[in-house]
């Protein structure tokens, strides 16, 4: 009887004309449209930068200096390319030891003590600090005070500003990567008589090397494209780099300066530099993915 009354009320077929089904289709359509709108600018950006940038790129550009504004065409981005490598390299030199060390402390020694919780909170706050503030900070600390051998704008100052931005990424990924190491590994190492130092350096860190390396590469990728911290630390120079305590050109600052110039030669160099920068950063992101695929053993 119950079965009959159940079927008498209605069947279980899908009725497309019902209000709720219409509403569902409408909302699905809206979500699909939103996804489409979100993807269009992305394709437009990547397409324009890659196609337009590549069309202006010549291999000789990597070995030439930029031309004098308004005078002639041609020239290259050689000094800015080398400068980006140097400044980013310097920032790694500062940020990787501090970041990995700090991450080791948080995961291996901090436990849940108030100090490590405060540092975790501070890391999150530092990750949210606008990049231009990092530039202003290093300007006030190093550039305007001429604390580094009397130099003002310098590659070292630029590297330090980028390091401030890289630091939170590296600390966080190190901390989280080390937390994933099974506790048994630490107990095993301590059980056979290894000291805490040996356990950490020889057992724990090597088994978390993939997530740590991923974080480092992502940190580098983020800082290599940063401009705001560099415009008043590393500044710019139309010449080849001549020392770590001198102003140094970078590709990102070159794009910023040349994008505002009314000369076609400079705008073309800005597009070419954008192409090189974007390809470098995308390659580093792919590298990070490749490394992190080792972590999922």
């Amino acid at each position: 009887m119950t079965h009959a009354s159940f079927t008498a009320k209605g069947d279980l077929l899908y009725k497309p004309q019902l209000l709720r089904n219409r509403g569902n289709r409408l909302l699905t359509g809206i979500a699909g449209a939103f996804a489409l709108i979100a993807v269009i600018p992305l394709i437009a950006v990547i397409l324009f930068v890659l196609v337009k940038g590549f069309s202006f790129l010549r291999p000789a550009m990597f070995f030439e200096l930029p031309p004098v504004p308004g005078q002639d065409m041609g020239g290259g981005i050689g000094n800015a390319f080398v400068g980006t490598l140097i400044v980013t390299g310097l920032s790694c030199l500062f940020a990787i030891p501090v970041g990995v060390g700090g991450g080791i402390y948080l995961s291996e020694y901090g436990g849940g003590n108030p100090f490590s919780e405060f540092i975790r909170f501070g890391t999150n706050v530092l990750a949210g600090v606008p990049s231009i503030i990092a530039g202003v900070f290093i300007y006030g600390l190093i550039v305007s005070s001429r604390i580094l051998f009397g130099s003002t704008f310098s590659a070292v100052a630029g590297g330090l500003a980028l390091a401030v931005l890289m630091l939170p990424t590296i600390i966080k990924t190190t901390d989280e990567g080390l937390k994933l190491v099974p506790q048994e590994l630490r107990w095993g190492a301590l059980g056979v008589g290894a000291s805490k130092f040996v356990t950490t350096i020889r057992v724990v860190v090597p088994s978390a090397i993939a997530p740590i390396a991923t974080g480092v590469v992502l940190g580098i990728a983020r800082s290599a494209g940063e401009t705001a911290p560099l415009i008043f630390t590393a500044f710019f120079s139309p010449y080849w780099p001549d020392g770590l305590f001198e102003p140094m050109a970078t590709m990102s600052v070159m794009i910023f300066n040349y994008a505002q110039m009314p000369y076609e030669a400079q705008v073309q160099l800005a597009w070419a530099a954008s192409f090189v920068l974007v390809v470098m950063i995308l390659a580093m992101n792919l590298l990070a993915r490749w490394i992190s695929s080792f972590a999922q053993r």
């Binding site: 709720r20 509403g23 979100a38 949210g128 606008p130 974007v278």
Partner: protein, 326 residues
């Protein structure tokens, strides 16, 4: 070190296997010094954070003394008469980030929902996800270059149409020509989309499938389940992502500086040139006089405090709203 202890144990006979091994002083020293070293490296984070406040604060002290809190409400930024007020820049920062959020939140969360439901095959979903994440990796100065040469010429006719139709509304009262606030809003929207989409997608993915199936089981349609079950369950992550994006938008410098027009006088219209705190600093730092430099540092301090509050609020919201599932 380990090898020598083993040899030592073997030499002293089998009894020593059952006695406590005393750690040599060198090993203890190494342990404590390593602990102190990494502790100091962790402390660097706090030192840098406090250092930023101290350095920026001390450089700003001259302007703080000269203008006080009036700096925040005065719209006059006049290097000739050496009088500075940051109201225009603060208003520009808040306006551009809020408008960008208004555009980016529905688009980003909508895309995240689209990517976590089974509307399209997992393969295409993965492609879209990866592409959205690639957009997050593009440097902001490159987006600024793109905004100048692609977005501005493309969007100008649309903005001009809006001006002709709704020009009587003060916000649209300027005929757009050249850079302006609205282009900055558009480029910020493009920059925020990947952040909001990626974080919302991850938090929606973390909601247990049981919840969705239970909702379907009691007769909910797909979108009832999304609105009444999935989104409330993932709200802490979504709101956290939105707050993170807000912080990012307020501090964003290069793309905005290149396209906003860097106009220091106040204008109510969204289609006119304007500025933000970050673009003001980036644009004027190079040729600033002494008091002007201090005023820029004061503006940087204001920006620092605003983003600090937003980030702390974000962390608090995430903890407060987080729902825990077994």
């Amino acid at each position: 070190m380990q090898k020598t202890t083993l040899i030592g144990m073997a030499a002293s006979g089998s009894d020593s296997l059952y006695t406590l091994r005393h750690r040599p002083a060198s090993e203890k020293l190494l342990d404590t010094s390593f602990r102190n070293l990494v502790g100091f490296l962790a402390l660097m984070v706090a030192i840098i954070l406090i250092g930023i406040f101290i350095v920026v604060g001390s450089k700003a002290s001259e302007a703080i003394g000269a203008f006080g809190l009036n700096f925040i409400v005065s719209p006059v930024w006049d290097p000739v008469r050496d009088t500075y007020g940051a109201f225009t820049a603060i208003y520009g920062t808040l306006l551009t980030s809020v408008l960008a959020l208004v555009l980016a939140v529905p688009l980003g969360v909508g895309t995240a929902i689209f990517l976590t439901e089974d509307f399209i095959s997992p393969r295409i979903r993965l492609v879209i996800s990866n592409m959205v994440e690639l957009l997050a990796a593009i440097p902001s100065v490159v987006l600024g270059l793109w905004a100048i040469f692609v977005l501005e010429p493309f969007a100008r006719p649309i903005l001009q149409l809006i001006h002709q139709l709704f020009g009587w509304i003060p916000f649209f009262s300027t005929n757009p020509s050249g850079p302006g606030v609205m282009y900055a809003v558009l480029i910020l929207t493009i920059m925020l989309l990947p952040i909001i989409t990626a974080i919302s997608r991850d938090s929606l993915n973390q909601v247990p499938q049981d919840l969705r199936q239970a909702a379907y089981g009691v007769g909910a349609t797909r979108w009832t389940a999304i609105f009444m079950v999935m989104i409330p369950a993932a709200i802490s992550g979504i709101v956290g992502g939105i707050m993170l994006a807000l912080g990012r938008a307020m501090g964003e410098t290069m793309a905005v500086t290149l396209i906003i027009g860097n106009q220091t006088s106040f204008n109510i219209s969204w289609f006119a040139p304007g500025n933000t705190i970050a673009s003001l600093i980036a644009n004027q730092f190079g040729e600033a006089g002494e008091l002007q430099m201090s005023a820029l540092m004061y503006a940087a301090l204001v920006l620092m405090i605003i983003t600090f509050l937003v980030n702390v609020l974000a962390q608090w919201i995430v903890r407060r709203l987080a729902l825990k599932y077994e």
